[in-house]
Symmetry: C2
Subunit: 224 residues, 2 copies
């Protein structure tokens, strides 16, 4: 039964931690639930078997997210019922520094702006995303050629895909990787819109004032 899965306090804590749609690593979920990693591992495999969460491997991490909105909906319903009887739970927000906004992930843009960029591109049908697979649309090709002088030929690579969904560390949502992600980040640098921070080892990406404006013009969501 599915309810039994949600019934356990440890698992319930994990699930509510995932309710915002972001993905969390197994160890983070363990900490959220206040249990050791090995216990969390057991819980997570059960949740996965029950179809409530989906794993995504990223390097040596395993990110977990809720399978889909239906799951989130049912969880909200349960929370609603719980709220009526007086019981309630509160969730704490994230607690990260200012590099959440923009940073380098390998060779492409990550952080709030990176996620925002992919969101907008998806919204305007520049790319089509299905799970982890992303493909560039013809509208997307036109857009890139016109505004960023990026042609499809530049993106060809023997082993690396053009587009790839990469899980964002701070936002825990996807941003754009692949040769396109790299090319766009490189272009931003060439155009003096942004540059990696000078301090060695830092992954922060600083946007110039004009760069920020230009970026917002192309990929802004109206919230800045």
């Amino acid at each position: 039964m599915v309810a039994a899965l949600v019934g356990d306090p440890a698992r319930a804590n994990m699930l509510t931690a995932l309710m915002n749609g972001r993905a969390l690593t197994a160890s983070e979920l363990a900490q959220e639930a206040g249990i050791t990693p090995q216990t969390a591992s057991s819980h997570l495999s059960k949740l996965e078997a029950g179809g409530l969460v989906e794993p995504e491997k990223q390097g040596r991490h395993r990110y977990y997210r809720l399978t889909d909105d239906d799951v989130a909906g049912v969880l909200e319903g349960l929370a609603g019922l719980a709220a009526r009887t007086g019981h309630m739970r509160v969730r704490t927000g994230p607690k990260d520094p200012a590099l959440r906004r923009a940073r380098i992930c390998y060779d492409h843009l990550a952080g709030d702006l990176g996620v925002q960029m992919l969101d907008t591109m998806r919204e305007r049908n520049l790319v089509r995303q299905k799970k982890q697979d992303i493909e560039l649309t013809t509208e997307g090709e036109r857009f890139l050629a016109k505004h960023l002088q990026i042609s499809s030929e530049m993106l060809a690579h023997p082993r690396r895909p053009v587009c790839k969904a990469c899980l964002d560390w701070s936002e825990r949502r996807h941003h754009l990787a692949g040769t396109l992600g790299a090319a766009m980040m490189q272009r931003f640098a060439e155009l003096k819109w942004a540059a990696r921070d000078a301090t060695p080892g830092s992954r922060v990406v600083n946007f110039t004032r004009t760069g920020e404006k230009q970026f917002a013009a192309l990929f802004g969501n109206g919230k800045d």
Copy 2:
């Protein structure tokens, strides 16, 4: 947590048995869940404390029903999630004789027709029901005077209420009791619309052909 309540198999069986909106007695629920009455009693008090079910005392029975549609909705959602992973449950239907249709409950009409009558009266604002309390509206008074020659004065009684919701044994939904329920049943008999079955001890109420028509004209729901 609410989910923990639904998580237990015995409780889940009880809840799914209640999903059709009808009320069941504690012992019936115990049988449904395949446990002894004392275990069921423990489960039911937990479900009640969690706000999932509501009890209603009726003689020496205790009928339980789901508190409201929200609860049913969440349960359906959970069942939906469970269905996706392959697990499913089936429910069996009722198994009663033909006296389900119309019978005497103390001195008023019960059975399918009794429930149908109250439903229709509620629908047409002849009565207003809030939980177990029912009150006659002015429209209801006019209706009774016009079609059944029943006046409010006839219904007055020192200790017995005019209207009362009575839980129907076969339908497990409310029908109309109180002095009004009795007066209406008596009127049906006087009008030769219906009469108690001749065989002694039987609670069956037989409607005449014209009585059936007249009754349907006043309280029919279009399904007959």
